[in-house]
C-alpha cells in the first residue's frame, strides 16, 4: 500500500497531565488507591517528626540561662541552647585569646577576597590569582594565626603576599569596572600602549617592585603577639587542618596517580606501594603513627609540633585516596586523546596539563568533592589524639561545671554546622559540573 503525506502534521500542546499542577499531583502522589494511602501515611510521619523537633528545638527551648539548672527550671522538655550559645567563641576559635580573634576572622576574610576573582567572569588572569593563592596565602595566614618574630624568609613571603593581595584587588577592580586586566589598564593609564612588549613588562615589574618595597618596609615595623598552636581549636582548627588537606591532597593525588600509570617501573611500584599502604590503614592509625612513631624516626633534637604531624598525616592519607579518584578519571579518557596530542608534538607533561587533565578533572568533580567532604568530616578524629578541634570543643561543654552532662545540644549544633558546610560543598560541585559541561556535548 502506498501513501504520501502531503502536509506536515501541526504541533499540538502536551496533554494536561504533563503540564498542570493537578496533573503532576495525580501522577506522582495519587496515581492509585495504595499510593494515595502511602502519601497520607508519609505526610503524617513527616508531621510527627517535624512538629516534635520544632517544639523541642524552638518552642520549648531555652536560649538564655547561666547554667543547666536554669534551663530545667525554664522547661523540662525543651533544648538547652544556652550552653551552646555560652560556648560559641570556644566552638569557633578554641582557646585562642579573645582579644586576638580578629586575626582569625581577618585571615578568613582575606582568603575569601583573595579567591573571589576566581568566580567572576569579568576578571582576567585567573590562573595567576589561583597560583598566588597557593604560593603566598599560606604564609600570610600562618603568620597571622601564630604571630611572633618573623625570620627573613617569612618577612619576604609576608611582604610578597601583601603585594600579591594588593595587585589582586586592583586587578579585581579593573576587571569589574573596566573589564580588562590590571596590566593592560596600567599600560593604558601610563600611555605606553605603543611601547614594546619588553618595555611594558619592565614597567609592570617596576610597579610591582615598588608595591613590594612599601609592603616590606611596612611589615618590618609590625609584630603580632605570638600565639602557640596549642591554643588553636574549635572550628578554626578543623578548617585549618582540612583546608591544608584539601589544598594539598589534589596536587599530591595527581602526582601519585601519574606515578601509578608511569612507564618507569620504579616510579610505578613506589606509587602503588605508597597508595595501597595508606589506603589499607584506618586514618586513626595513621594519626597515631604520625604523632607517636614519626618522631622516633627523626634525628635527635628534631621536633615537629603535633599539629604539623597531624596535618602531614591527613595530607598523605587523603592524597592516596585522591590518587585513586584521579586515576579513575584518567582511565575515562580515550587513548585517542593522547595520540591526538602526540601527533601535534605535545610531550608528556603538556599532554597531561593541556589535554588530559582538564577533561579528566571534569569527570572527577563529583568524586573529588566527595573526598573533600569526607576529609572535612574525618578531621574530627584529631580530637581523639588530644587536639581540641570543633568536636573536641563540643564534647568538653558537657564537662564544664555549669553545663555538666549537656551532650545532646552541642552535638546537634555540630551536626547542623557540618551539614551546612558539606551541603554547600556538594551543591557547589553540582553547579561546577553543569557549568563545565555547558555547550559541550560529546
Amino acid at each position: 500500500m502506498a501513501m504520501i503525506k502531503a502536509e506536515k502534521t501541526p504541533e499540538r500542546s502536551a496533554p494536561i497531565s504533563e503540564s498542570s499542577v493537578i496533573g503532576w499531583l495525580h501522577k506522582h502522589l495519587f496515581s492509585s488507591a495504595f499510593n494515595t494511602l502511602l502519601t497520607f501515611v508519609m505526610l503524617y510521619i513527616i508531621y510527627l517528626t517535624v512538629s516534635g523537633v520544632f517544639s523541642w528545638g524552638v518552642l520549648d527551648a531555652t536560649f538564655v540561662a547561666d547554667n543547666r539548672r536554669e534551663c530545667y527550671d525554664n522547661s523540662l522538655t525543651g533544648a538547652c541552647w544556652a550552653g551552646v550559645i555560652h560556648w560559641t567563641n570556644n566552638i569557633f576559635y578554641g582557646r585562642y585569646p579573645r582579644e586576638e580573634i580578629w586575626r582569625i576572622n581577618f585571615g578568613g576574610l582575606l582568603l575569601v577576597l583573595w579567591m573571589a576573582p576566581l568566580w567572576m567572569s569579568r576578571v582576567k588572569g585567573k590562573v595567576l590569582v589561583a597560583t598566588t593563592t597557593v604560593v603566598f596565602y599560606p604564609f600570610l595566614a600562618s603568620y597571622l594565626f601564630s604571630g611572633g618574630d618573623k625570620g627573613f624568609f617569612m618577612q619576604i613571603m609576608v611582604a610578597g603576599a601583601m603585594t600579591a593581595f594588593a595587585l589582586n584587588m586592583a586587578n579585581l577592580l579593573a576587571g569589574l569596572f573596566r573589564s580588562q586586566g590590571l596590566n593592560s589598564f596600567l599600560i593604558k593609564a601610563l600611555g605606553q600602549e605603543n611601547a614594546s612588549d619588553k618595555t611594558q613588562r619592565n614597567i609592570l615589574l617596576l610597579l610591582a617592585g615598588i608595591v613590594f618595597g612599601v609592603a616590606f618596609f611596612w611589615q618590618m615595623g609590625q609584630t603580632l603577639q605570638p600565639i602557640v598552636w596549642t591554643k588553636w581549636g574549635g572550628l578554626f582548627l578543623t578548617l585549618v587542618i582540612s583546608g591544608v588537606g584539601i589544598a594539598s591532597a589534589l596536587p599530591g593525588g595527581i602526582i601519585l596517580a601519574l606515578g601509578r600509570r608511569s612507564k618507569l617501573v620504579i616510579v610505578r611500584v613506589l606509587s602503588i606501594g605508597f597508595i595501597e599502604v595508606f589506603r589499607s590503614v584506618p586514618l586513626i592509625t595513621v594519626l597515631f603513627m604520625a604523632t607517636t612513631m614519626f618522631p622516633l624516626f627523626m634525628p635527635e633534637g628534631f621536633v615537629l609540633n603535633k599539629l604539623v604531624q597531624v596535618i602531614i598525616a591527613v595530607v598523605l592519607f587523603n592524597a592516596c585516596y585522591m590518587a585513586e579518584t584521579v586515576r579513575a578519571g584518567l582511565q575515562a579518557i580515550p587513548k585517542g586523546q593522547y595520540e591526538g596530542a602526540h601527533t601535534i608534538g605535545l610531550g608528556y607533561w603538556r599532554t597531561m596539563r593541556l589535554v588530559i587533565m582538564p577533561q579528566a578533572l571534569k569527570y572527577m568533580i563529583p568524586n573529588i568533592v566527595g573526598s573533600f567532604i569526607g576529609l572535612l568530616k574525618d578531621t574530627t578524629l584529631v580530637s581523639i589524639i588530644g587536639l581540641f578541634d570543633i568536636l573536641g570543643m563540643l564534647r568538653s561543654i558537657s564537662k564544664d561545671t555549669p553545663w555538666l552532662g549537656l551532650h545532646k545540644e552541642p552535638l546537634i549544633f555540630g551536626a547542623i554546622l557540618f551539614f551546612i558546610m558539606c551541603a554547600s560543598m556538594s551543591k557547589y560541585s553540582r553547579h561546577l559540573e553543569v557549568k563545565l559541561s555547558a555547550g559541550r556535548t560529546h
Binding site: 601527533t343 608534538g345 556535548t441 560529546h442
Partner: protein, 258 residues
Amino acid sequence: MSNNPPKSQLASAASSEVMIAIKQMNKWYGQFHVLKDINLTVHKGERIVICGPSGSGKSTMIRCINALEEHQEGEIIVDGILLGKNLKNLDHIRTEVGMVFQNFNLFPHMTILENLTLGPIWVRKMNRVDAIDTAMTYLERVKIPEQAKKYPGQLSGGEQQRVAIARSLCMNPKIMLFDEPTSALDPEMIKEVLDVMVELANTGMTMVVVTHEMGFAKTVADQVIFMDEGDIVEQNEPTVFFDNPQHERTKLFLSQIL
C-alpha cells in the same frame, strides 16, 4: 572494469628526495607477528594509498611511521631522521608528520580554534595572533571558518574530520598520514572529507593514506599498496593495480570491494 583505464587525474608531484624509508621492519604484539619484513620508500610529494582487509597491519604500519607504535626490528627513517628510542627525535618527527585518525581525536574541551592553535602556540612557540591567523587560513581551506568558536561536539562527523585535517596542517607538516579518515563517517559526509584530501594532494603534500575509498585511490594515488596478514603483498601504480592485479589475494580483495 573498463578497458580504458582512468588516467590519474592529478599530475604527480613526486620528486627524487626520499621522505620515508622503511627497511626490513618487523613488529610483534607479544608473540603475534603483525608486520613482516616491510620495505617501503616514499618520495617527497608522493601519494601512497594502502588498502587491505582488516587486521592486515596497514594501520599499524602507518602508526609506526610517527612512532605511535614501536617496531622491534629494522629501521624507519623519516625526513632523514632515524626513529629510535631517542625521545628528542620522536618529538621532532611528530611535529614534521601530521596524522588524521578514524575517530578524529579532536580535544572536546576546547573550541575548534583552540584545537588548531594549541600545537602552534605550545610546540612551535608562535605568538597567539599569528597562530589564530594560521588557524583561520586552514579553516578556510577546509571550508568551515564559521565554526571556529564552536566545540567539536557541536559539529558533524565530516566537519570534525576536516577540522582534524586543518589541525594537522597548522603544524606545517612535511608528511600527512591518514588512518581510515572516512571509515567513521556517514555516507553523505565522506565526499566533503575526500574533497579536502584531494585538494591537499593538489598542493604537493606527501601523503600516506589507509583507506577503502578506491575512487580516491584511482584519482590521487601515485602508488597503491595491498597488505594482507602483515605482508605488503602487492604495490603498483593505480592503473595497473586496479586493471591488472597480479596476486591472487589482491584479485580476491578487489573483487569483494569493487
